[in-house]
């Protein structure tokens, strides 16, 4: 039997180690900073996301990239560093509710105008997997990479895919779950207020880098909520922030059980063992 798979009655659980975390969101610049907010040592000051300069991309490429690419680079490199992992060796799972919202808005405006010319760069950056493409170029990684969309289930869907990828291959996998903001008029129909992204290096084997062991199960229990009103608001309004109850336990350094929202009829329970 492969690591992490065990039979527990009809529903089976999956186990995976978290080696490193990256997090950028409104008022949360990096995992260390976010930990202070998640543990109540600092207050969440809501402000649009501040991202570090994009690493490892040639200047010409750097100028062309929008928020999803900058955000996924920021969280990805932070998680990889925290895990002391080599990004060129990691399979990746990107998960996001939408591709580049600003870019798609601009394409849709062009297509509705008299001059329907779209720039080639805008078009190839419009694919949902553009961040995955730029990440592989920046890191020289030729390992498998997939990109998912599950509407509000950005995080749970990505976690399931990345965990099963890591367990099947017997190798660590990098999960990058993020969402960004539409301008109007689509904002009214999809009101995600702030960009937020979380990345995790998931390892089927316990190494020195392991922060915690996660045990995943499908669950019909309701999702865990957060006591801090500001953080709870983010959890409800940003799909990738559905991860916050899990990140809360990881920041606290305490073992426990959280339920993360997945799809309308099923949630994902996550046991955290430090």
């Amino acid at each position: 039997m492969q690591p992490g798979f065990f039979q527990g009655g009809r529903l089976n659980a999956l186990q995976i180690h978290v080696d490193g975390i990256g997090l950028f969101g409104p008022g949360m610049s990096g995992w260390t900073h976010a930990c202070e907010i998640l543990t109540g040592k600092a207050t969440l000051e809501l402000a649009p996301i501040q991202l570090p300069p994009t690493e490892n991309l040639p200047p010409a490429e750097r100028r062309r990239v929008g928020v999803p690419i900058k955000l996924s680079m920021a969280i990805g490199f932070e998680a990889v560093r925290n895990a002391c992992a080599d990004p060129a060796q990691l399979a990746t799972v990107f998960s996001s509710s939408e591709a580049d919202c600003d870019n798609i808005h601009s394409i849709l405006e062009s297509l509705a105008s008299d001059d329907r010319e779209i720039s080639p760069t805008r078009f190839h950056n419009s694919v949902h997997n553009a961040p995955s493409g730029y990440w592989s170029i920046a890191t020289g990684c030729m390992e498998p990479s997939t990109t998912l969309c599950a509407y509000d289930a950005t995080f749970a869907a990505g976690l399931l895919e990345a965990t099963t990828q890591a367990l099947s291959s017997g190798k660590p996998c990098l999960l990058l779950a993020y969402d960004t903001v539409f301008p109007e008029p689509l904002y009214s129909l999809r009101p995600i207020p702030y960009a937020l992204g979380v990345a995790m290096v998931l390892n089927p084997f316990k190494t020195k880098a392991a922060h915690a062991l996660l045990t995943l199960n499908m669950s019909s229990s309701s999702a865990t909520t957060l006591s801090d009103n500001g953080l709870e608001e983010l959890r409800i309004r940003i799909p990738a922030a559905r991860s916050l109850p899990l990140l809360n336990l990881l920041a606290d350094g305490t073992s426990g059980l959280v339920v993360i929202e997945y799809l309308d009829s099923i949630n994902l329970s996550i046991g955290v063992q430090l």
């Binding site: 939408e98 297509l111 694919v127 030729m142 498998p144 997939t146 289930a153 099963t164």
Partner: protein
């Protein structure tokens, strides 16, 4: 790797609604690509359109999902006894034990393209009947199919451009191996829209004629649309003649957003690992369904990758001359074409290609060949350097 049994499958594209007409088109080497004006596109183009979608009625209880992409999905689902096979799987496994993993590149974005043309003049608001979540969002296709069958298992859309609906086989395989599900609906749906028509045009990748993969005069793609679905489960119940996915290989080019690695390096890694996972040698493969988009650089890079592994004797063709490039649906359409080729013991020849480019060295078929078929490999490569190769095998007694 634990293989996947293809319990039931169906494909709908410009060459046929369902497998019977698709097989007939392959047998007679017919193309579904025609020169026409589509929607409000202000240039004439050659496309593989599925007829009848404009007047197709989506199921009443799923009306919120109404858009070209989900209409095509429903039309596709209702062929070849596929819905019966899924309902049978629900009885056997339970509706919480069946996953839905579907590929799409543009989902129902055409509904938003129309809505943007009809914004309120002063407020700029979109029309009140426009529904972003159930049409444009990429998850819409997985949500639609999940609700169509009232399933409550895991689901998501995979959107890795033109490899999307090949990669879903990997997602399903891993989910089955992990024990989370007992069966899955995989496949892909992509439909014509302005974004891809004007987008590929801006990259100067669209041919003014029906596409000619691997031809010396090839000059770009013809866009198409398709819905393809496969019900997969583990191989415990496989019998002689059944088709099994025995191998999958995935890789990233790490090279460029819209051009392949010139030596087909990423493609090579994907093909090589698919063979390795299947436990097969290159000489065991009886037919390769190429990605074969008919652009200069894609076909040249793929040819290098293919011949590096398979040499110059393995029969190959691209079926994009039949269907057009169906983008996020292409992987699943071509997986089904491989399954039909295996079941019917023939390797389909390409359509549209007249003079094979002498600088390309793989054995490109211009006509069908009847031969015993045991194993077929299908390539799907996408923007962002996303590569996926699948191996399908026929069960022998």
């Amino acid at each position: 790797m634990q293989g996947l049994l293809l319990t039931s499958f169906t494909a709908t594209s410009s060459i046929g609604t369902g497998c019977k007409t698709t097989l007939a088109a392959l047998r007679s080497q017919c193309s579904g690509i025609a020169r026409k004006h589509w929607e409000s596109v202000n240039f004439e183009t050659c496309i593989g359109e599925v007829e009848g979608l404009d007047s197709f009625a989506i199921r009443d209880d799923l009306a919120v999902f109404d858009c070209r992409n989900n209409r095509l999905a429903q039309l596709g689902l209702e062929q070849d006894g596929f819905t019966h096979a899924v309902r049978n799987a629900i009885k056997r496994f339970g509706k919480e034990r069946i996953g839905v993993f579907l590929g799409t590149s543009t989902s129902g974005i055409h509904s938003t393209e129309i809505a943007f043309r009809n914004r309120e003049t002063i407020s700029g608001k979109l029309p009140v009947d426009y529904d972003y979540r159930h049409t444009h969002n990429s998850y819409s296709i997985a949500d639609f199919v999940r609700r169509y069958f009232d399933l409550i298992g895991p689901a998501y859309a995979v959107s890795t451009a033109c490899s999307s609906s090949a990669k879903v086989f990997g997602s399903a395989q891993r989910m089955l191996a992990s024990g989370l599900i007992d069966a899955a609906i995989v496949g892909g749906v992509d439909s014509l829209c302005l974004t891809t028509m004007y987008g590929f045009n801006s990259l100067q990748l669209v041919s003014t004629n029906p596409c000619k993969p691997f031809d010396v005069h090839r000059d770009g793609i013809s866009l198409g649309e398709a819905a393809a679905f496969v019900l997969v489960e583990n191989t415990a119940n496989a019998v002689s003649g059944d088709i099994i996915m025995t191998g999958i290989g995935e890789s990233s080019d790490a090279h460029h957003m819209s051009s392949p690695h010139p030596d087909g390096l990423g493609a090579r890694i994907a093909m090589q690992s698919a063979l390795q996972v299947a436990g097969l040698r290159a000489t065991d493969i009886n037919y390769i369904n190429l990605h074969g988009t008919a652009t200069q650089s894609n076909d040249a890079a793929e040819d290098k990758g293919v011949t590096a592994i398979f040499g110059t004797k393995t029969p190959c063709s691209s079926t994009k001359g039949h269907t057009g490039h169906t983008l996020g649906a292409a992987g699943a359409v071509e997986a089904i074409i491989c399954a039909l080729a295996l079941q019917n013991d023939f390797a389909p020849g390409g359509v549209g290609t007249k003079i094979i480019d002498p600088s390309l060295t793989c054995r490109y078929l211009l006509s069908n060949i009847d031969q015993p078929m045991h194993h077929a490999l299908s390539n799907s490569f996408g923007f962002g350097g996303s590569n996926c190769s699948l191996v399908f095998s026929k069960v022998v007694a």
